[in-house]
């Protein structure tokens, strides 16, 4: 039993036959080769697989591919435009917010959603918004700084 779905990834239209048990993570990584989407736990506890679905940060490991029908999906591969890093990406690079890099795509995408929301965030609110992402390398310090910097006008 498969189901045909149509969605956009980073602005590109995709049509696929998927099985109901396939996750969006698996479709993005193993069928479409968006390998910037990372798998850290498979149960929504680490945030490494976060992508933006219609602009909303979502754990793609517990999101069935069939649900992506008709959605716009953004992965880390779609954040830089024309070879130019986004403001969030630049801040992560400049602030040294990256170590092993495995959690980085997820953090960058959630931060991107925050920037694009146009909202103002206190430091506590920034931490809360990022709290669905685990990082074992950085102690989160430079990530917070990078996101603060991204949110500055």
């Amino acid at each position: 039993m498969t189901k045909k779905i149509a969605f956009e990834v980073n602005g590109k239209k995709v049509e696929l036959e998927v099985q109901p048990g396939e996750t969006l993570l698996e479709v993005l990584r193993y069928r479409l080769h968006y390998t910037g989407v990372k798998k850290g736990c498979a149960v929504g506890e680490c945030g490494a697989c976060t992508v933006l679905i219609d602009g909303t940060p979502t754990n793609s490991c517990i999101y069935l591919a069939v649900w992506a029908d008709g959605k716009e999906i953004r992965t880390i591969e779609g954040v830089a435009k024309d070879g130019e890093l986004s403001k969030v990406q630049k801040s992560f690079v400049e602030e040294g917010a990256i170590q092993c890099g495995f959690c980085t795509p997820g953090f960058v995408l959630t931060a991107t959603a925050m920037v694009e929301s146009g909202k103002k965030y206190s430091r506590e609110e920034i931490k809360r918004e990022l709290s669905g992402h685990l990082c074992r390398c950085t102690g989160y310090q430079k990530i917070i700084k990078a996101v603060e910097k991204s949110l500055q006008d």
Partner: protein
């Protein structure tokens, strides 16, 4: 890859209950944050799923002219935490919603799923217990409305009959108008955690210094979320003082059926019930316009 053998999607409640009547072995899925995790952990081996995700009619939070708040079962925790109707009228539920999981989970997880999963740690339950919420359940034959206290039967067991789905959570104006409330989630981490104990308190005052009534809902203090009836009874029309609050909190423990597990001992949980009920009461009294207690 999850082992999903069959997959159906409904776009209306009517369609959903029909599909469920025709395929009684289907498992209902909404946000997926419980069902898929159980599948990953092997607690559900093979599944046929009925997805409610396209049932748009269940996504709304509304307040009717007479004050009845209805929350569609597909409302997400992010919606609950940000919705002005919830924040202004039943803030304990907004606080509980914000304490649940992390942002990505809150973006997906639904209040209906949280309740139907039936675990004692369901983050939305203590507040809804304290608010005397009612649940609207529907099957092919029709619908019924039951108090939330009758919904939770045991760990992971709820009062959904075969073919029935939860469609709405209702909070009546007489249960929130004039009440102050507060929710405390006690957990090991400040995010991405399940509650060691959840305490929701709502209270209404006769005047600044006297209770009209108090309602206390607890999570993880027994096999189901529960109410502290004896403590509530004691609190009725009592003068508000540090002493009364402590006594209410002390009596609250009597309604619990905590167990020791590797997460926490019975003794510690009971101690937390008393301490956190007291803390939640203090804030709820303040929010209801009562005197400040130290």
């Amino acid at each position: 890859m999850y082992n999903i053998e069959k997959y159906y999607e409904a776009s209306t409640v009517r369609e959903a209950v029909q599909l469920l009547a025709d395929n009684p072995d289907l498992l209902v899925i909404a946000g997926g944050t419980d069902v898929l995790i159980k599948m990953h952990g092997g607690k559900i081996e093979k599944a046929g799923l009925l997805s409610l995700r396209k049932v748009k009619s269940l996504e709304a939070i509304e307040k009717s002219p007479d004050g009845l708040i209805s929350i569609g079962s597909l409302v997400t925790f992010t919606q609950l935490a940000n919705d002005p109707v919830i924040k202004d009228n039943i803030p304990a539920l907004a606080e509980a919603s914000l304490s649940m999981g992390g942002p990505q989970i809150r973006n997906m997880a639904t209040i209906g799923g949280n309740l139907c999963n039936g675990v004692p740690s369901a983050d939305s339950a203590p507040a809804l217990f304290a608010l005397d919420a009612q649940l609207r359940l529907q099957d092919k034959e029709g619908e019924r409305v039951i108090p939330i206290q009758e919904f939770f039967l045991g760990p992971g067991k709820v009062a959904l009959k075969q073919g029935e789905i939860l469609t709405e959570i209702l909070v009546s104006p007489e249960n929130y108008n004039g009440y102050g409330g507060h929710y405390i989630k006690f957990s090991m981490r400040k995010a991405m955690d399940i509650a060691t104990l959840g305490v929701a308190v709502v209270c209404k005052l006769k005047d600044k210094g006297t209770f009209d009534n108090v309602r206390i809902g607890l999570g993880v203090a027994g096999p189901t979320p529960l109410r502290c009836r004896e403590a509530e009874e004691y609190a009725r029309e009592k003068a508000i003082s540090s002493q009364t609050l402590k006594e209410i909190a002390r009596i609250a423990v009597k309604s619990t059926k905590a167990r020791s597990s590797w997460r926490a001992s019975k003794e510690y949980r009971e101690h937390l019930v008393e301490e956190l009920t007291w803390r939640a009461l203090k804030i709820a009294v303040g929010r209801a316009g009562g005197v400040e207690i130290d």
